[in-house]
């Protein structure tokens, strides 16, 4: 066991856990004041339910049978029994469990942005429990735990596919099934507090260093490369989003700066430990521009992806995973491969396209199954009534009000 590696992964695990409250504030600032608590609650609840599932069955099903090239793990580590004195590489096994847990928490949380303002909390409780087990665990096994996709040669350093494409696909399906918010897109629904969104962006960027550089599972050169790549990709994403926004909408906006940075962070996630700094700038810049343009998809195809999870996370994750097929550079990380631009030919590119296609399809299908299943089972269905939507989810789902600012 290496204390330096353990220190960095302990820190990274805390950083990635902090990203879920950051995501809650990032999305929370963008919804209307009458729905702020419902958005915060859906994200914080993920920190509750997923951890307990993870200890009992989640970790074992995802990471049991490591490298078995299979579809799912096993029950060797139910209740994490016997893992107290084990190590995983140069870090304690229990630390690896905690690190991977933080990824399992934030992935379903990402979905909440697409389904803002209209899902019953009871339905969300059922959905996130089922989704974590039926969708996240298999996909995590395929790629993170040497399952069949990893064995075929697909690369995903920190979760471009496992986290972002996976959540993006589920977000697309669920926001369609839940139908649009009443009044969308005609009625103006401006963010109720952009400072809250900017605070969330700061926490996400801060935590993302743990997300990407922590995935090196060591305090080494690859971690340093992943760190600088993460930094400059976010910066490049911000700049390119602002340039495109300035040209097309006439103004560089604060929400644009935040969105571009997140798009850059999403796209570099699969590539962080496999590419160099300048390619990271290119990947980030591409994401900033492409994700901005992808926002128009929801107006074009009439689906209310309320806070643009599809445009930023699905498109950003797809773009990053596929660009990795071009820019991967084995000289950066021996555990990686060479992409098209580094003489590695098109094999990696093909595996990347296959991997994201499979993850997208699997997540979309099983998400639909879960959603329609819940719709049938839950008496009140999964969508709030029109009256409740008008009054707001804070009051109707949680009988709370977000702000009471009058100084009386």
């Amino acid at each position: 066991m290496n204390t330096g590696d353990t220190a960095w992964v302990l820190t990274s695990t805390a950083l990635v856990l902090f990203m879920t409250p950051g995501l809650a504030l990032f999305y929370g600032g963008m919804v209307r004041a009458k729905n702020i608590l419902a958005m915060l609650m859906q994200n914080f609840f993920a920190m509750g339910i997923v951890a307990v599932l993870w200890v009992f069955v989640g970790y074992s099903l995802a990471f049991g049978g490591l490298g078995n090239g299979g579809f799912i793990g096993n029950f060797d580590f139910v209740g994490l029994k016997g893992m107290g004195s084990e190590t995983f590489g140069s870090i304690p096994a229990l630390l690896f469990v905690a690190f991977q847990l933080t990824f399992a928490v934030i992935t379903p949380a990402l979905i909440t942005g697409a389904i803002a303002d209209r899902m019953r909390f009871a339905a969300w409780v059922g959905f996130i429990g089922l989704w974590s087990i039926l969708v996240y665990l298999p996909v995590a096994h395929w790629i993170f735990a040497g399952g069949w996709l990893a064995e075929r040669g697909a690369l995903d350093f920190a979760g471009g596919a496992v986290v972002h494409v996976n959540a993006g696909a589920a977000a697309l399906v669920l926001c369609i099934i839940l139908k649009a918010r009443r009044g969308w897109p005609r009625e103006a629904m401006p963010p109720h507090s952009l400072p809250l969104t900017m605070l969330g962006t700061g926490i996400l960027w801060f935590g993302w260093f743990g997300f990407n550089a922590g995935s090196a599972l060591a305090a080494n050169g690859v971690a340093a490369q992943a760190f600088i790549n993460t930094f400059v990709a976010a910066s490049a994403g911000m700049l390119s989003w602002l340039v495109v926004e300035r040209l097309k909408a006439g103004h560089a906006t604060t929400l644009g700066a935040a969105s571009g940075a997140v798009a850059g962070l999403v796209a570099i996630t699969p590539c962080a430990g496999f590419v160099g700094a300048v390619p990271s700038i290119i990947i980030g810049a591409a994401a900033g521009a492409v994700c901005y343009l992808a926002i128009q998809l929801k107006f074009r195809f009439k689906y209310d992806d309320s806070l643009d999870v599809v445009a930023v996370h699905l498109v950003g994750g797809l773009l990053g995973s596929i660009l990795l097929g071009l820019f991967a550079d084995a000289s950066v990380n021996s555990a990686g491969k060479d992409g098209v631009f580094y003489g590695g030919g098109w094999s990696l590119f093909g595996e990347q396209v296959l991997a994201v296609a499979v993850v997208f399809a699997f997540s979309a299908v099983v998400t639909a199954a879960i959603a329609y299943g819940l719709k049938a089972v839950l008496p009140g269905g999964i969508r709030v009534s029109e009256e409740d939507e008008a009054v707001g989810l804070d009051l109707t789902q949680h009988s709370e009000v977000g702000y009471s600012l009058e100084r009386v």
Binding site: K248, Y292, I295
Partner: protein
């Protein structure tokens, strides 16, 4: 007695308050309102989607005044609140049945 109501541009509030104070007006009540009129609102852009907001922030002033003072107060309001640009606002007067000062129960002009 009459109630003088003025809808003015927010940054004019301090000047207006000082001006009517100098006229001997003992007090006034103010509230934040949103105005719609010839003065256009503005456009907000969030992720490429444009929203026009027609309402413009204004401030609403209510002044209880004795009949004798109404005319002086109104003309001072018109003078001080004017910028000459669209959206300066409105002033109007409303007849009052009676008025009371809660602390003392005094009514009529003594209530001011």
């Amino acid at each position: 007695m009459q109630l003088i109501v003025a809808i003015i541009k927010p940054f004019k509030l301090d000047d207006v308050k000082e001006a009517v104070k100098d006229l001997g007006v003992q007090g006034l009540t103010v509230s934040d309102v949103q105005g719609f009129g010839r003065q256009r609102g503005h456009t907000e852009v969030y992720r490429g989607a444009e929203y026009t907001v027609d309402f413009v922030p204004k401030v609403r002033i209510e002044i209880l005044a004795d009949d004798g003072d109404v005319e002086r107060v109104v003309s001072k309001l018109l003078e001080v609140a004017r910028t000459g640009k669209i959206g300066d606002g409105k002033v109007w007067t409303v007849p009052i049945g009676d008025a009371w000062r809660i602390r003392t129960g005094e009514s009529g002009p003594d209530a001011l």
